[in-house]
Amino acid sequence: MKNKLLLLFCLFTVNLLYAQEATTISGTVTDANSGEPLIGVSILVKGTTTGTATDVSGQYQLSAPANGTLVFTYIGYTTLEQPVNSQNTINVSLAASASALNEVVVIGYGTASRRDLTGSIATVKGTEVADRPSANPIASIQGKVAGVQIVNNGRPGATPDVRIRGTNTIGNVQPLYVVDGILNDNINFVNPADIESMEILKDPSSLAIFGVRGANGVIVVTTRRAKTGQMQINFNSTVGVKNVVNRIALTDAAQFRELYDEQLVNQGNTPYDYTNWQGNTDWQDQIFQKGMLNYNNLSLASSTEKNRFYMGMGYTTEEGIIKYEKYQKITVNLNDELQVSKALKFGFTFNGYRAKLPQERSVGGALLAAPIAEPYNNEWGMYGTLPNFQRAQVWNPLVDIELRKNTAINYEYRAVGSIFGEVNFLKNFTFRTALFADYGFNQGRSYSPIITVYNPEIVNADPIDSLVRISSVSQNQNIYTKIQSDYLLTYKKAFGDHNLTALAGITSYYNSFEGVSSGRTQGSGDPIPNDPRFWYTQIGDVSSTTGSGNAWDRATLSFLFRTLYNFKNKYLLNASFRRDGSSAFPKNGGRWQNFGAVGAGWVMSEEDFMRGQTFLDYLKFKGSWGVLGNQNTGEDYRYPFYPTLSSANSGVFGNNIVPALEPEYLPDPNLHWETVRSWEVGAELATLNNRLSAELTYYNKLTKDILTTVPGIAGTRPGLGNLGEVSNKGLELSATWNDNIGNDWSYSISGNFTTIKNEVLSLVNSGYRIVQDPSRTEAGYPIGYFYGYTANGIYQTNEEIRLSPVNTLNEVKPGDIKFKDINGDNVIDENDRSMIGNPTPDFTYGASLNVKYKGFDFNTDLMGVYGNEIFRNFGRGTFAQFNYPTYRLDRWHGVGTSNWEPILSTGRANNYLISSYYIEDGSFFRIRNIQLGYNFNPELLSSIRVKSLRLYVNAQNAVTFKRNTGYTPEIGGSATSFGVDNGSYPVPAIYTVGVNVNF
């Protein structure tokens, strides 16, 4: 080192005399982080066109004036300008730039550098979700990633509805989750605080490697590992409160009486006697509460040269917004990696999880119960019934919430673990073998008490109604097992300008379920007490014992292959292939299926003709095409090809029961998994010194051979067949801007925008449709669209009825909804129905803003959807009388009083038909999250041996601008019936405060 310095000094003094002349400069360019030489770095003499590039050992040589400046540029690294200053050797180190281009991302069965990939992969860092008030990490992604639509569910511990790039199919549209390599469909056991990053894979070239499970998209979750360095202990805690901010406006007692009296007159019934019903109850007030939540996490990470160890523990309690709903969970995450020698590495991961599930409650009863009933009767000390016009169909909501509180004890346990071994041999080969196991146990027991309520209408006897006359208990246990083994061989080599990474492997997957349940009632004995100690099916009457069991299993064996190739980092080619064999189909049938994809990319910014410009730091064009598969047939068809005979329906003769066998369905002999053929093209760019990066992609997916169960015509029950095609296409645009203002301020703004156009191309045969009123699925329309009449005003007078097209569906009178004569034949009949709404949005968007100033940081996330419709289905039934939503106060009750709200009368069947009267706009905009935090100065903290301390306050779902009357505009559902509001559970606003400490 000393000699080098001496040499330089000499050269310097000598060269001083020749400052103006051109000199030959040489040197080495290395990576600032790893010290590795960088190949292909571009070096330009500033202001000239003289330039060169580094060779395979990172060395370069060029001629430049002694007072010139050399400009070093390399994709993924910050550009460096180095004045020559008459030196002959200039060695530089380039630092990886703030942009994500050089990042290593986790893809299926391995990792790769983002710039080598031709696909669309979005990364969400664990830090972005760790401090959000949601027990499920996926819920916090809402609005952050283009192409991913997340519909949240307000229940504590609930899993959100995730659709990646549209609704693919009619069955299960949930994406695949990969947690530290294990393929899974349920990630309740993952603690958001233990997550390092989540990668969302959306395009065919990334998904094809997942074969028969990749069609709906994949979310890869990587949990935290210790980083090289010392030991780090982290503690974070969040405390907060939840509140329902948007209530449904319902009538109070006085308004109810006004409307009900008018309705009875319209129906020609006798007026109602309210003597026993003098209450004025807001049932929503009765059942809602402010829920508290508290998350605590502690983690320990330690790493040395040879060993990396991480342990994280978390304890969460979260209440719901309905009384007595509480969710508690404990998670443990352990992982360790031991580098035995330079070539050999072993490791294991373990996730343990135990949760006490909340007793689910619904808001339905509170929306239907009449406000004129008192909730409780003090004289008799009991909850009251509802008036007789709804008594048989609706119970006092407090009966369920108070009398049945804490009567279901459900525990969920998961133990997910893996061990792996990795060996590097022959310089370029790596062989990795991993064995994963996931055991989930659910254990539950519940109690149904005797329920008596106060009924003021009983005369000549005690005014007590018995709703449930015998108490009963039930117990259930089940176990889900998943076992996976991977054997992967990777080859990585650079041949001059060619870089190749190839992967070949075998993976097997076994999935099984076994469940048992039993129950007993008190029988002829004493009532079973309301004390959890008694709630086992040992108590009660032996002769009343019921029980059942259920089991299924499935195995998959797959061969996979992938290459990532690039030439000079300029031309990229990714190809992957997978062959899956499944136990669900017979050997001679569709057991084996092949999937694959190919993707290509062109990094135009690496081309020679692009070297001169400084506008674009990075520009890549990419495209990919592939065939993916979906094996999710859901609960009903675990063995699609084996026609099972159900013994559920027995024959009865006198009092003798004889077992009966009945085919559940009739299988199609040519059954195979459905496939998604998709392609995308796009461009990624970074500009303005990597401060602005943007990505634009067009995607087009066609799902073929959809596995669909078609409801029978004429009482028949055909089974599963490959009978449909769905297409999804659209644009995704996302952009991020990072910048600093001076030394103290830094900010970033990012946004994403996705359009979705969904259409069912074919289903069974022309004209066939799946009808789940009000949703329909048929060829030529989007999945689950709403079909019905178009409401076109209200008939004001009989004269108007006479002059309008004849309504042949029902006899209409003034006050009824006038439907539009769509086909113009001057008659209103079933042919005047058309598409009245689409539950899939036209586009979704999100944005976030981060600002940092010294120790403060401020962050806000916004999101919205536009163009979808919601069908308001609560209270549409006529089988009983329900409470009225306040918009019914605008009802028609005379000429000119309303042209939208029909007359109050359950006898007017016309007004209860499916029509656009029930359609609401589902577009909404939400300030999803606002967070303000402060990082204490590390110098202040060092005295108490604390490395960093951050305090923050957070508000989630603070404000929602919506247009529907329900609690929330986010309404999920199945693939063919969603967006139907039956009084869905509210999504509350959550306010929290938290602290994050590192020791």
Partner: protein, 498 residues
């Protein structure tokens, strides 16, 4: 190069494990359903099990629940919708005022329930037809399935008129999408099915199977189908072969409809149900939907299908059958001596259907007030005797008419000679009146009346007189359910009268 020696064993090892893996991978991927049978597991004696599944189809709500009751009985002049005044106003408009709509849940369920039974029967029939040499027991199974299919089609053709005829096992959706067949075609199928059933079904079954279909059931149903087509000769022959040499009806009238009277000698075809504290999924809703609509211990059900004044006043003075058919509100009722709550303004029903009135001790024992255990009586001897009387009258065999009428009336009298004087007239028109009257009071609230009125051609006058003025000729048939027409995408066409 020096690595070659290291490669070989490694390669060999991987190749070995690979081949081992491949050979066991077949076993790894062979998995059959756990805890369930598949068709490969079936043995030859399995047709009986499939027939029992068809019997189970009779418990479908569309066949024995509210849809059946509404379509067969509420529509008649014997009964009204019932329940409270504001409950089911849309049903009241349809079934009491004949303002039919094309998409109503009760009618849709009726259609689905009957076609479900047809589908279950077709499965058996086709499976048996595929056999080379079926044994006698299997042929009997097929005959049972044919009866059930005929029964389902008989109900469908009476209710809707022209309906799709599906008489094969459906393996693909598209096969079931067929256009309507004519009424004659449906009856031809019914005749053929019942012909075989009558020939093959046994006279009686082992004690393990009370209520299982017998030859009498097939013949009784045959007689009824002939009656509906005014084929008097065939009807009389079939009915008489059921009656045989019997000269009196042995079961006392007030015991026919009790729990103790299930599967009595009077019964020819009964839909079986069982319900206990532990067995709760093999019941029917027949009693529940008609049970007294009260509060507390008197909440016996929804209270639909209540008898009206028209039926009450149809009984002759002192006719004991009135007290067996009508349960009176606001007084003590035999035989259990319970006091039924009085009618109120909200539930203004003076009468309830007593033929679904359950025994309170059975209610207590099963811990249910809703009578899910009560079998549905579909065909019984009283009905067959009256059918014979009607056919005989049309053929002018007056002595037989009087004999049959007397059989029914003497059982109803129960030994009390002061009431129900025997019918003596020989005038055909008067006898017709007497028979029609007897049918009404003997089979009151037994789901026969509406179709009787339609086939006698007197529906319009009777309804006008009874106050159900909404009835028009086209209302003899219901419109085909719109959801079925939608699902057929144009193949199924609506009844042109609608």
């Amino acid at each position: 190069m020096k690595n070659i020696f290291n490669i070989k064993p490694r390669v060999l090892l991987t190749a070995l494990t690979f081949s081992l893996a491949l050979s066991s991978c077949d076993d790894f991927l062979e998995r059959k359903p756990l805890g369930q049978y598949t068709t490969e597991d079936l043995t030859s004696g399995s047709f009986e099990s499939q027939v029992f599944a068809a019997y189970a189809g009779l418990r479908h709500s569309g066949i024995s629940g509210l849809p059946y009751i509404a379509i067969h009985n509420i529509r008649s002049d014997d009964a009204d919708k019932g329940s409270s005044v504001s409950d089911g106003i849309d049903a009241e408009n349809i079934f009491d005022n004949f303002q039919y709509t094309k998409d109503f849940w009760l009618i849709n369920n009726y259609w689905t329930g009957h076609y479900n039974l047809i589908s279950l029967s077709n499965n058996v029939i086709t499976a048996v037809e595929e056999l080379n040499n079926p044994d006698q027991a299997t042929l009997v199974n097929r005959a049972e399935a044919k009866f059930l299919r005929a029964y389902a089609y008989f109900n469908l053709v009476r209710t809707f008129g022209e309906v799709p005829k599906i008489d094969f096992r459906v393996t693909e959706q598209a096969q079931a999408n067929v256009p309507k067949a004519s009424v004659n075609d449906i009856y031809a199928l019914i005749d053929a099915d019942l012909q075989e059933a009558a020939a093959v079904l046994p006279i009686s079954w082992d004690v393990r199977f009370p209520g299982r279909l017998t030859q009498s059931a097939a013949k009784a149903l045959q007689a009824k189908t002939f009656l509906y087509r005014q084929n008097w000769g065939a009807a009389l022959a079939a009915a008489q072969s059921v009656i045989g040499n019997t000269t009196s009806l042995s079961t006392p009238y007030d015991q026919i409809f009790t729990e103790a009277g299930e599967n009595s000698p009077e019964s020819i075809f009964e839909i079986q149900a069982v319900y206990t504290q532990t067995l709760t999924n093999l019941g029917v809703e027949y009693a529940q939907v008609q049970g007294v609509r009260g509060a507390g211990a008197w909440d016996l059900g929804w209270g639909w299908n209540t008898p009206n004044e028209s039926l009450a006043s149809a009984f002759e003075t002192g006719d004991p059958r009135k007290d067996v058919t009508l349960l009176y509100s606001g007084q003590v009722n035999a035989p259990y001596n319970e006091s039924v709550p009085p009618a109120t303004a909200v539930v203004p029903r003076p009468y309830w259907n007593k033929k679904v009135y359950t025994n309170p001790s059975v209610r207590a024992a099963t811990n249910s007030r809703f009578g899910q255990w009560l079998n549905v009586r579909v065909l019984r001897y009283g009905d067959v005797v009256l059918m014979a009387a009607e056919a005989a009258n049309e053929l002018g065999q007056t002595q037989d008419v009087l004999k049959y009428l007397e059989m029914v009336r003497s059982r109803a009298r129960g030994g009390n000679a002061a009431i129900l004087p025997p019918v003596t007239t020989t005038n055909k028109a008067e006898l017709q009146e007497a028979i029609r009257h007897e049918r009404r009071v003997e089979l009151g609230m037994e789901n026969e009346r509406f179709f009787d009125l339609v086939r006698w051609g007197i529906a319009e006058q009777v309804f006008q007189a009874a106050g159900k003025t909404g009835y028009q000729a086209r209302n003899r048939y219901l419109p085909i359910p719109q959801p079925e027409i939608d699902r057929s995408a144009g193949v199924l066409v609506q009844n042109p009268e609608y």
